[in-house]
Structure formats: C-alpha cells, structure tokens
Subunit: 352 residues, 2 copies
C-alpha cells in the first residue's frame, strides 16, 4: 500500500519523539511491504518563528492532501505568560482542528500491568481501567463568539451546539461502544446548561438505533469524582469540547502512564494522530523524552486511518516488549537504567 | 450573644444530618452562653412538593433576616432523569445563591490522619493536603443568557464576567492566602477563553496590592491533572463558577473524607454553610448518613459568620475525638462497629 503521511513535528520535544515514530513506521512499512511518503510541515511556535503563523496555509494543503497526519506537540514557554499575545501556538491547533474538520477527539486511557505502580491511585482502584473518551473538538465555547463590552470591563464567551454536531459525535460514540463492552456514558451539565440539555435529548433520541448499548447520563462534576474513585467503571464516554478538555486530562494521569497515551482526532475526511502529552519544553533536545505515546499514536494511525490492523498490532507488541524488558526512558526507568529517546526508537526498530 | 440562624434542611438525608448539627450547636450555645433562635424554612424538592417552588419568597425572607443560614442538601431522584422539567430543585439552589448574593463558595479539602487510607490516592500523594477553593458562585455560564434558536435545533449558553465580579472574588482569595501559606493559584483557560483572559489580567493587576502573596496561573486542564498527582502542592485556588463546580468535586473525593467536608457560601451581606455531599436519597430516613460534614459546616459558621473561634474549635475538637475513638457512621466504621447518625450526634453533645 502507498501511504501518504503529513508529518507535523511542532515544538519542544515534538521533533525528537516524531523522529522515533518515523523510524518505527518505516520499519513496519518495510516489513509489511508498504511505501510511506512523509511530507513535513510547520506548526506551532516553530511556524510562528518561520512564517508568523501557527498553522500556515501551506501546512493545511499538505494535511489535506495526506492520507493521515502524524503530529508531535505544540507550545512554547515564551507565549505562556502572555495570554493576550496576538499570535499564539494554540490558535494554530484550534485552526487546524476546525479547518480539517476533526470533530472527534478519541482519547483512550488504559493501564500497562508493568506500570500500574506509577499511578497516583491505589492499585485496586486503577486495575482494569480501559476507557475511551470521545471529545467533541470543533464546537462549543472554544469556537463561539467571544469578546469584550463596556470598554473592556465585561468579557463574554458563547457556547453553541447544534443537534447535528451532537449527532455526529454521538454516532461515533455508539459505534465505538458496539465494538467494546456496549456501555456509553454521556457527560453533561443538563441541570444547568441549555447546550447540555440539547446533548442529552439528542443522545436519548439515538438510543433506539442502538438497542444493545446501555447508555448512562452523568453530570460533569460527578464524572470528575468517579474518574478518581472508580475509573474502571467506565467504558466509552462522550462529551462536549470544554468538559472533554478537563476530563481527558484528568483521566490521562490516573493510569500512571501519561507518557504512553496516544490519541486520534478524526472527522469525515481527515484524521490526525498525536500523543496526549505536551511539548515539555524543559526536555527539548536532551534526547530524554518518552517516544512511546507518539509511537502508539502511529499504531492507532495504521489501524484507524489505513485499516492495517496487523501492522498496528506489531507496533503495540514491540512496545509491550520494550516495557517488559525495561527499555524505557528515564520517566519509567529504574535508577541509572534509563535509555535515551533515540535508543528506545532504535531498539523498537531492531525488535520489530 | 444572640444568634439568629435560618435552618434549611432540604431533601434526602438533609433533615437527619441537620438535626445532629442543631443538637451540637445548641450544646455549644449552652456551654458558651449564647442564645440561638432557629428559623426553619423550605427548599428543594421538599419546597416544590409543599408550595410548587424550590426557593419560596418566604424562605428568602427568613434567610435575609438571619445572621447565617445552615443548609442540608437538595435534590430528589424524581427530577434527575427529566432535566427539562419546568421546576427543578437545582433552580432553587441557583436562585438562592443569586438572591442572597453568595458570590464566593469556600471549599476546603483537607485530610484527617486517621482517614487517610480511605483516599483513592496513595498515602504519599495525599498526605499533608490542605487546600481551599474559592469558587465564584453567582456569575459565568450558570447565569448568562441561554436558550434555543432554529426551532430548537441550536442551543446556546453565554458565559459573562465583569471585572468587578472577578475583583471581589479575587480579593477574598488574596485575603485568605494571607492567613495561610500565602500561595494563590488562579485557575483559568486563558489560552482559549476571553472571560479567562479577563480573570487573568484582573488578578495580575491586583498582585501589587498583596506583594507577599505568590500567585501562579494555571489552566483548568492542568489543574485537573495536578489535583490527582500532587494535591498537597496547592494552597488557595480561585476560579470561575463552572471550573469550580468540576474541580471542587474532584478535590472533594481525593481526601477520602468526602463525608466530612464542609463548605461556606458568602457574599457581602449573607453567609450560608452546608456540607459538600448531596442529598443521598438511597439513605433517606435510615439514620445511617454521616452528619460530620454538616457539623463541621456549623463550626465554620461559628468562626466565619459569628467570629466565635473558640466555639468553632470546640466543635472541631469533639469531631476529632469521635474519629479517634471510632464513633462514626458506617461509611467510616470498621465492620459491625457503625454508629447511627443520631448516636454520633448524641455522643458529640455528651463529649463537648
Ligand atoms: C492547548 C489547548 C488549546 C488545547 C485545548 O484546550 O483543546 C489542549 O489543552 C488540548 O486538550 O489539546
Ligand atoms: C446542583 C448543581 C446545580 C450545583 C452546581 O452545579 O453548582 C452543584 O453541583 C454544586 O456544586 O453545588
């Protein structure tokens, strides 16, 4: 198969972890007889520095013409303490999501038996956790009208959802639930928000199309609690953009394996794969960042974007092997036994 | 001193736990020579059943004329699966907050050494946690314009904040930080929301009035993570209404002592004290609910509303004694050693 992949390394440790993912993908391609063409493009602070724009048109063209996008991380400390800066890396991210129509962010949280003791939660609370959030990614308060009134003294952000936006996200949720344990939780704040009431009534109306799926409705504050108490009681969760931002990050740390969590952002045309972790600026260039989340994102890409399940399994298996044999970066290694980012990448290639 | 207290027991276990708090307050009053007048009033589902309104005008009058309000819990399952019901208990809560001007919700999360093993978090993560959230309670997306367009196909909720609203909440935050370890964290989403940028710039401008307070700014998603990872790294946190709803609930379960967490909602005129837990309908009338959160809320009332610190300490001490001696309800008791709600109340009165 010919695979045409856009490669957006981004900022901070992005380029280093992306490099390892490229090595692993190339090795998989050789092994399974595929031909990958990588098209690199600029995003984030790197793109602002180069062309003054965090998501340049040229990058958008490259993404549109690719079969999938593999993404590193964006964000740079020089923008962090100046939220009112005119151009910010985050704007690139939001623009990219919107322009590529990536309306569903798929974020699994699962545990690796060998890493379970890294979790801040007690073993009996976290064991067996295997859940997936589907976060709506191109609507809600992120994209509603926002601004100031009264000479800057009053600020507003508008949260807007249409029934069609809820339906297309919920459809993915029901479909995903059907491939798993058939449990779906709709997370909202329907006791206060009108948009949440629209979410709830829309999902309720879809229940009859998926009679096998058991649907529950929970308020966002209750989910924020239960995720810490009994994360293993959830399977598939669907939610709106802002709730998803908060809850998926909360979920990502409970497993103790944040450095390993992949994600996908999908729409009806395009698909993007990226690790959950950020650009980790302090570690830039040190060859110490954990590349496994990016490599597991590449595995998701083989599976979801190309339908190549065997290839995806091959990557997951070799990652499991590296964990079992302790070929890991310093965040996961025992004292004095840490491998470098690039060494982990090389080991995976050799052991594929 | 003459103390005039409005008593809103509410729904579910509300009346049972409130009864114990009343006993304890009366005993404290006798001991320290105060005279309490209790004025009971209806709220929540109980008020809807009686007069068709979850926060009747009569209740509002009683609250306005009291020195403080002691509140149980509201909510009833018959409203839970019908979020579009015309009258809901929650509306009473929101109306009460708004009409009494209770703009700051004060929510401490702390640990009791004897209960630390109840926490879902590992001991080393939770030990030493002692933080307070100040949640804005009468603004933001809860109270902005909301509704439908396009024949019901589009829903919207508007989030609005004025600089003055942020200032009065932040002022309480800085003042509270000054009485503690002088660390203040402003939680926002300033990389996306205009209201958050107003929050951040307003707090930044107030920093110079409190040069001793060390202020940090963190995004809400990052806080949702750090609360699980290192809750003991926080002291005072200030945030807007919806973020506060989610994060204070998340924080409340990490200590393992949710059944013990009190809270206060304060404004410039009125003050209300209530346990953090809900109405726990399954336990209604069984005399098994934990009354300690309500009793500790009464301790907060003596301290914050009446300036009676010794009285507040007396309540906290006797609660600590009951915990140390295992005089606790089934949620905290060893097998077959549970006390009834009313027995715990009686024991506290005897041991004051
Ligand atoms: C960087 C920021 C705008 C972004 C978001 O809030 O969506 C990030 O937190 C995420 O979850 O991808
Ligand atoms: C019941 C609900 C409206 C309320 C809120 O969201 O404020 C509750 O969750 C709380 O935190 O007091």
């Amino acid at each position: 198969m010919k695979l045409n992949i856009a490669l957006l390394a981004g900022d901070g440790i992005g380029p280093e972890v992306i490099d390892q993912a490229v090595k692993v993908c190339d090795a998989v391609a050789t092994k399974f007889n595929h031909e990958i063409t990588w098209k690199t493009a600029l995003t984030g602070a790197a793109a602002i520095d180069a062309v003054g724009e965090p998501y340049p048109d040229e990058t958008h063209e490259i993404c549109l013409n690719a079969d999938a996008v593999l993404f590193g991380a964006i964000g740079h400390p020089k923008y962090d303490n100046d939220p009112s800066a005119k151009v910010r890396p985050e704007q690139g991210l939001l623009k990219m999501r919107k322009k590529l129509g990536l309306f569903a962010n798929v974020r699994p949280t699962f545990t690796f038996p060998s890493l379970i003791d890294n979790s801040p939660l007690k073993r009996e609370r976290i064991e067996g956790t295997d859940l997936v959030f589907l976060r709506e990614l191109t609507g809600g308060i992120y994209f509603g009208e926002k601004g100031r009134r009264d000479g800057g003294e009053t600020a507003f952000d508008n949260c807007v959802y249409t029934r069609a936006e809820v339906q297309r996200l919920a459809k993915k949720g029901f479909e995903l639930a059907m491939t798993r344990t058939k449990k779906l939780c709709c997370v909202d704040k329907a006791n206060v928000l009108e948009t949440s009431r629209l979410w709830r009534e829309t999902v309720q109306a879809m229940e009859k199309e998926y009679p096998e799926v058991e649907v529950s409705y929970e308020f966002v504050d209750a989910v924020a609690m239960r995720l810490v108490q009994w994360p293993n009681s959830y399977d598939v969760l669907i939610t709106e953009n802002l709730f998803g931002d908060i809850l998926t990050d909360e979920a990502s740390v409970i497993s103790g394996s944040m450095g390993l969590m992949p994600s996908a952002s999908v729409g009806s045309e395009n698909q993007l794969f990226e690790p959950i972790h950020g650009s980790y600026p302090q570690a830039t260039g040190l060859d110490i960042a954990n590349p496994l989340a990016t490599i597991l994102s590449a595995a998701m890409m083989f599976d979801m974007a190309f339908g190549l399940k065997e290839e995806a399994e091959a990557i997951k298996n070799v990652v499991n092997k590296s964990l079992a044999e302790g070929v890991v970066t310093e965040d996961l290694a025992e004292k004095n036994k840490a491998y470098k980012t690039s060494e982990v990448g090389n080991w995976l290639v050799e052991n594929l």
